[in-house]
Amino acid sequence: MTLASFSSASRVTSIGRQTALRVAPTVALSFAVIAIVIAWSVAPSLFTGHSPIVGVPADKLLSPSTAHWFGTDHLGRDLYTRVVYGTASSVTSALIAVVIAAVAGGLIGLLAGFLGGRVDIVLARLVDVLLAIPNFLLAVIVVTALGFDTTNAAIATGVSAVAVFARVMRAEVIKTRQAIFVEAAFLLGGSRWHILLRHVLPNASRSVLPLAVLQFGLSILVIASLAFLGYGDPPPASDWGLLISIGKDYLKWPWLVYAPAFVTIATVLSVNRISRWLRKTD
C-alpha cells in the first residue's frame, strides 16, 4: 500500500523538476538583461573605453555607429558610455527604494495583521492616508523636504511605496494566521511569537518577494521620473532619467532620448517578467 503512494509522490517531484528546468525563453532573456545591467553597475569601465564626463567637442551629436553605439551628445560624449556609467546610480537607488518600502511596509503589515485590534486600526488608517496621496505626488513632496539628490529621490520613492507592501503583507498575514496549520502549531504547544516568526512570517513573505521584484522595476521608473524633473543629482551625473531629460531638448537627434529610454524599458520589462515568473513558480 505504501509503495503505491511513494511512486505517485516521486512522480510529483519529477514533474516539478522538469518545470524548474524548462524556463521560458523570455525569462532566460530577462535574466540575461539583468545580468548585463548588474555587470554595468559593478564595473562600468570594463564595458567602454570612453569617458562619461569629458567629451570630444568635434564629435558632438553624431548618430549611432560602430564607434559610438548610441551616438554622442551635445558635448561630444559617448552616450553608450554615459548610459553604462549611469547604471550604478539608477540601479542602487531603485534597490534602496525597494528595501525601504519592503522593510517598513512589511513590518507595518506584519504588526497590523498579527496583533489586530487597536494596533491594526491605527496602522490601517496610516496606510489609508499614504494610499490617498497619489504615489508620485508623495514622492515629490518627500524629495522636496529632503533636498534634491538621487539618494533622497530613492528614499522618497521607497516611502511612497510603503503602503503597497503594508497592505499586501497585512492581507497575507491575516490569511496565514487563519490557516489551519497555524492553529495546529498552537495546539502542539507553539507560543504566539514562535508562531509569528516561524510560521506566519515565512509563509506571508512568500508573496512579498515577487512584489518586491515588481516594485524594483516600478522604482526605476519613478526615480527616472524624479530625475527627469530635475529632483535627482544634477549633470554631469548620467542617471537614465536625467539622460532622457537632457535629450528632450535635442529632439532633432532622437537617439539622445531613445537610447537611454530603450535601456530603461528593457530593464524594467525584464524585471517585471521575472516577477511574474516568480509568482507562477511559487
Partner: protein, 574 residues
C-alpha cells in the same frame, strides 16, 4: 436522422467485430480509443466504452484516474491545454473532430451536463431565472412567458418547493442541495438524450446525496435519458448504473455489466476497490475493533477518559443567536473510539473545539483523563494538550508548506521541551515508523508528498508527544477510498498497540461502523441518539438516524429493477 447515415463502413465492421449481434441498435454514445494529453502528460490512455439509449453507465475511479477528464472530453469542455485524440460518436455522429460551431447545436439540446460543485456552477452575479432562460432558449420556443412557465414546471419537477422564489434568487441565496436541483433542472429542461453527471453529489451532505441520486434515477427512467455517471464511490455506481467502467491512472482496469463487475470483480484493482469501500465491508476490522470493545464492557468501574457534561455553546451571527452545541453530553472509556456523527451544521466541529479548549462553553463541563478542560488558563491548556491531540480533516492545509517533515514532526517536542535533541530525533523516526513512513522523507516538504502520506505525517505529529487521546476530525474525508483504508488500518493498529482513546468525527456512517465502539448522532447541535455501534446500526430509534442509515449506498438496490443491460463494453486491453 441523417447522422446515422454517416457511419463509415470502417466503424461498422469494427462494431460488427466487437458485437456480432445483427441489427443491434446503434449506441447513443460510443467512445473508442480515447486518449487525453496535457502537454507531454497523458492522463487518459486508449479508453473505450458504449452507452445505449435510456441506459446508464458509471465511470469509477479515484483522484487522478481520468474519469472527469473523460467526461469533459466527451462534452468537449477540456480546460485549455488539454488535447483529446480517438473517437467519440454521439448518435452515430463523430463529434471529437468536428468544429466548435458544428458541435454547439448538440450542447444542452442533446447532451446535458450536471457538474460536481453546485456552489460554483452558476454565475454568482445573475439570477437563477436569467440562467434558466438560457437553457430554455434551446427549446426554440418564442414566447418568453411560456418559457418561464416551462422553467417553473421543471423546477417543480426536480423537487424545488417554491419555483418562483428560486427563479428570482441569486445562487448564493440557495443551499447546495437546492442549487444541484436547479442545475439538474437546467440540464433536463431541453430534454437531452444524454446526461453527463460529474460527481453530482460529492459536495453535498449524505442525506441530500441520496435524494439527488434518487432524483437522477427517476428522471432517467421517466424521460428515457441515458446517464453517464462519474463517481469515486463504487457503491453509488453499482446502485445507480447498468454498467461500470473502473479506471486507474487513465487506463480501464475492468468494465462490464454492473452485476458481474460488482459481485465478482476480475481485476486486482477492482477487487481492492470493492474491499476498501466501508459501506460494503462493515465488519472488515471487527477483530481489532472488538479488542477495544471488550474494554467498554469491562471497564465500567474506571473513570472515563473523556467526560463531556451538558455542554452548551452559542454564537452570535449577524445579530442572531445560533446555538451550535446544545446540551451535549457523552463519555468515552479509555482505549475505545467514540464517533460523533453528523452532517454539516450539526455542531460536531464546535463540539471538538470545545473539547480541545479552543472555545469555552457557555455552560457545562468537560474533563479529559480526570482533568478539567473548561475554565483553564491558556498555560494550563497547553499542559493538557500534551495528552490531548488533534488530527485535522485536510492534510493539505494542516501542515506548514515551508517546513520539512522532520521539523514538522519534531515541532511539538521542541515546543514542550521533551528530551534531549538526540532523543527528539529518535522519537521523530519512531513516530514516522509507527505510521508506516520511512526516514527518507525527513528532509522533504509537504508539497512533495501525496495526500495519504501527509495525513500520516499529521498523525505522527499528534503521536510524537505520546498523548492518551487523539481527536480525529474527519481524518480521511479529503482522501481517496484506498488511502482511507490505509489510514484506518494505521489508526486501528496504533490504538491496539498504544491503548489510545479516539474521538472520531465523521459524516460517513459506513466508516464509523467499521472502526467505532460507541456513537453519538448529532443534528442541529443536539445529540439525537447515542449508543454502541450495534445499537445504533441494528436498532435505530430516531427518524434522523434512520434517514442517515438509509443514505448509505448499499451497492445493490438500483441495478435490480433496471432493464437488463444490453450494452456491450470494449474494455481496451493493453
Amino acid at each position: 436522422m441523417a447522422a446515422q447515415d454517416r457511419l463509415t463502413a470502417d466503424t461498422l465492421t469494427r462494431a460488427e467485430l466487437i458485437a456480432p449481434v445483427p441489427l443491434r441498435p446503434l449506441p447513443l454514445l460510443r467512445v473508442d480509443g480515447l486518449s487525453v494529453c496535457y502537454g507531454p502528460h497523458e492522463v487518459v490512455t486508449n479508453v473505450g466504452f458504449e452507452l445505449g439509449r435510456g441506459e446508464s453507465l458509471a465511470l469509477i475511479g479515484e483522484s487522478g484516474s481520468g474519469k472527469s477528464t473523460i467526461a469533459r472530453a466527451v462534452l468537449r469542455l477540456l480546460p485549455s491545454g488539454g488535447h483529446a485524440t480517438g473517437r467519440v460518436a454521439f448518435d452515430g455522429q463523430e463529434v471529437l473532430g468536428i468544429s466548435e460551431r458544428g458541435f454547439r447545436p448538440l450542447r444542452g439540446r442533446a447532451i446535458g451536463f450536471v457538474p460536481q460543485d453546485p456552489a460554483n456552477s452558476l454565475n454568482p452575479v445573475r439570477t437563477i431565472g436569467a440562467q434558466a432562460q438560457e437553457a430554455a432558449a434551446l427549446l426554440d420556443e418564442a414566447d418568453k412567458a411560456f418559457r418561464k412557465q416551462l422553467i417553473l414546471e421543471t423546477f417543480a419537477e426536480v423537487g424545488l418547493d417554491n419555483p418562483r422564489r428560486v427563479y428570482d434568487s441569486y445562487p448564493h441565496q440557495l443551499s447546495g442541495g437546492m442549487l444541484q436541483r436547479v442545475l439538474i433542472g437546467l440540464a433536463i429542461l431541453p430534454r437531452p438524450a444524454l446526461l453527463v453527471a460529474d460527481e453530482p453529489t460529492s459536495a453535498l451532505d449524505v442525506t441530500i446525496q441520496k435524494r439527488i441520486l434518487d432524483l437522477l434515477t427517476r428522471l432517467q427512467h421517466d424521460l428515457k435519458i441515458s446517464l453517464l455517471l462519474i463517481t469515486h464511490d463504487l457503491a453509488i455506481a453499482a446502485e445507480r448504473a447498468n454498467a461500470l467502467v473502473v479506471l486507474k491512472d487513465g487506463v480501464i482496469h475492468e468494465a462490464g455489466r454492473t452485476a458481474s463487475v460488482f459481485s465478482s470483480p476480475e481485476s486486482a484493482y477492482a477487487r481492492k476497490l470493492r474491499a476498501d469501500v466501508p459501506a460494503l465491508n462493515p465488519d472488515r476490522y471487527a477483530a481489532s475493533r472488538d479488542r477495544g470493545f471488550h474494554a467498554v464492557k469491562t471497564g465500567g468501574g474506571d473513570t472515563p477518559k473523556i467526560d463531556v457534561g451538558a455542554v452548551t455553546k452559542t454564537f452570535i451571527v449577524d445579530g442572531k443567536t445560533l446555538t451550535a452545541v446544545d446540551d451535549v453530553s457523552f463519555i468515552v472509556p479509555a482505549g475505545t473510539t467514540h464517533a460523533l456523527v453528523g452532517e454539516s451544521g450539526s455542531g460536531k466541529t464546535t463540539a471538538v473545539r470545545l473539547l480541545l479548549g479552543l472555545e469555552q462553553p457557555d455552560t457545562g463541563t468537560i474533563s479529559v483523563a480526570g482533568e478539567q478542560i473548561t475554565g483553564r488558563s491558556p498555560e494550563a491548556l497547553r499542559a493538557a494538550w500534551r495528552h490531548l491531540q488533534l488530527v485535522y480533516q485536510n492534510p493539505f492545509t494542516s501542515l506548514d508548506p515551508t517546513w520539512t517533515i522532520e521539523r514538522l514532526v519534531r515541532e511539538p517536542l521542541d515546543r514542550f521541551r521533551v528530551g534531549t535533541s538526540k532523543e527528539r530525533v529518535a522519537r521523530v523516526r519512531e513516530a514516522l515508523a509507527d505510521v508506516g513512513l520511512g526516514g527518507h522523507l525527513l528532509s522533504r516538504k509537504p508539497g512533495t508528498l501525496s495526500g495519504g502520506q501527509r495525513q500520516r505525517v499529521a498523525i505522527a505529529r499528534a503521536l510524537v508527544l505520546k498523548p492518551d487521546v487523539i481527536v480525529l476530525d474527519e481524518p480521511t474525508s479529503a482522501l481517496d477510498v484506498s488511502v482511507q483504508a490505509d489510514i484506518v488500518e494505521v489508526l486501528l493498529s496504533l490504538q491496539a498497540n498504544l491503548g489510545l482513546t479516539y474521538v472520531f468525527l465523521s459524516h460517513d456512517l459506513a466508516l464509523v461502523r467499521q472502526l467505532a465502539h460507541t456513537v453519538s448522532v448529532m443534528h442541529r447541535g443536539r445529540i439525537v441518539e447515542h449508543g454502541t455501534v450495534a445499537e445504533i446500526f441494528d436498532n435505530p430509534q430516531q427518524p434522523y438516524t434512520r434517514s442517515l442509515l438509509a443514505s448509505i449506498p448499499s451497492g445493490i438496490a438500483g441495478a435490480a429493477h433496471l432493464p437488463q443491460a444490453r450494452l456491450r463494453l470494449m474494455a481496451t486491453a493493453d
